[in-house]
């Protein structure tokens, strides 16, 4: 099929611009020990339900009570559930130019690629929410202090799994 020169030029320009970033994603590995971090984030996995009894968990999860209370208050304003049971938590540095993983659960985890500091504070990030080996959603976001990101995930039993990420 013959493509017109202008169209070819347009597509060439665009894909030429995009290709380095694609390559960067493919080659992302773990950082060297000297790698600098852009931020430290906390990932929380909640089970939201109207049932007050939390699901049985082998591992005990401890979080700052004030942070947890504030998060639950915010979650209630978005998701129509009365109880938000914290079942997993992971604090993780986010490294420049390398992928970071927030893994409060191996069943639902978050890949974070830092895109550097945001103009008015916080960090530009590319997020990928994974369930097992399937990526559920990709997002470009800005993480700012006291402004968490809520990811409403799959339903489970009588409620729903919700992943929360915030700057620590």
């Amino acid at each position: 099929m013959r493509l017109c020169p202008l169209l070819t030029a347009v597509l060439g320009l665009v894909f030429g611009i995009l290709s380095p970033a694609v390559a960067q994603d493919k080659t992302a590995t773990v950082p060297a020990s000297s790698a600098a971090s852009d931020a430290q984030v906390e990932g929380y996995l909640f089970f939201a339900a109207n049932d007050a009894s939390a699901p049985a968990q082998e591992e005990k999860v401890v979080a700052d009570a004030a942070v947890l209370t504030a998060l639950e208050g915010k979650l209630k304003k978005v998701f129509p559930y009365s109880h938000f049971h914290l079942i997993g938590r992971h604090t993780q540095k986010v490294f420049k130019e390398y992928e970071s993983w927030v893994v409060p659960s191996k069943d639902l985890c978050l890949k974070i690629d830092s895109r550097g500091p945001a103009a008015e504070g916080g960090v530009n990030v590319h997020l990928q929410l994974w369930q097992d080996t399937k990526v559920l959603v990709k997002s470009d976001s800005v993480l700012r202090a006291d402004k968490p990101i809520f990811l409403g995930g799959p339903h489970w039993r009588t409620g729903r799994l919700i992943f929360v990420v915030r700057l620590k």
């Binding site: 995009l18 996995l45 079942i87 540095k93 893994v103 990101i149 799994l161």
Partner: protein
């Protein structure tokens, strides 16, 4: 090369070089004569040159897109949402037949979408809000999943809501942990996650290759 190319030489290559300002004086003179004699041709050439100038004007010399994964979805969204530009009526003049792609239904939306997508990409890098967490774009690879992003003023949080996901089977246990900062690991080596309350206790090991998704081994 003829000093005054005949109209049949009015091909795509000539038009591209005209857009880029690379014609010889003789070619330019011939083109201008042809344009003056044919209003349809003139309009189409101007339209093509306009697209080219928009691209040059808004394309930064070095642009790192926020995420290349979103390119296709952005283009498709813009194609679906872009108004179809008024297209010229077909010309009866066969001399411009070689540029008939300009009148193809897909050209105007695609050109518009390309420009808009590039503008979006260019603007996205410096986009910032008034102190709020922002979601520039969300993309769910599974076509059955609808991803919606919004900022909740009431909650002071960005919300990414996923609808259409398969529910996790009720009999499946969700294995969750309280995990400490994993710290850096050597290149090519598995990443080990330790318990927050016991730095010596390894909980999970993640395989180093995550291109096809994370693969974990749980440690008891």
């Amino acid at each position: 090369m003829n000093a005054t190319p005949p109209p049949d030489d009015f091909n795509e290559e000539l038009m591209t070089r005209w857009i880029d300002g690379q014609l010889t004086p003789a070619e330019l003179e011939a083109v201008e004569r042809a344009l003056a004699a044919d209003p349809h041709l003139s309009l189409e050439m101007e339209s093509a040159r306009h697209v080219g100038s928009l691209l040059r004007e808004h394309l930064p010399a070095a642009l790192e897109p926020a995420s290349p994964e979103f390119f296709t979805s952005r283009i498709m969204e813009e194609v679906q949402g872009a108004p179809v530009l008024a297209l010229l009526p077909p010309s009866k003049d066969r001399r411009i037949g070689l540029m008939s792609w300009l009148r193809q239904p897909w050209f105007a939306p695609l050109a518009s979408a390309s420009v808009v997508a590039l503008l979006f990409l260019a603007a996205n890098g410096s986009r910032s809000g008034a102190g709020s967490t922002e979601v520039a774009r969300v993309y769910a690879p599974d076509p059955n999943v609808v991803a919606t992003a919004f900022y909740s003023e009431e909650a002071g949080a960005t919300v990414i809501d996923l609808q259409g996901l398969e529910a996790v089977p009720a009999d499946r246990e969700i294995r969750a942990f309280d995990v400490a900062d994993s710290g850096p690991a050597a290149p090519g080596q598995p990443r080990v996650f330790h318990a927050a309350n016991d730095p010596d206790r390894a909980l999970l090991v993640m395989a180093p290759d995550t291109v096809d998704g994370p693969r974990f081994r749980e440690l008891n």
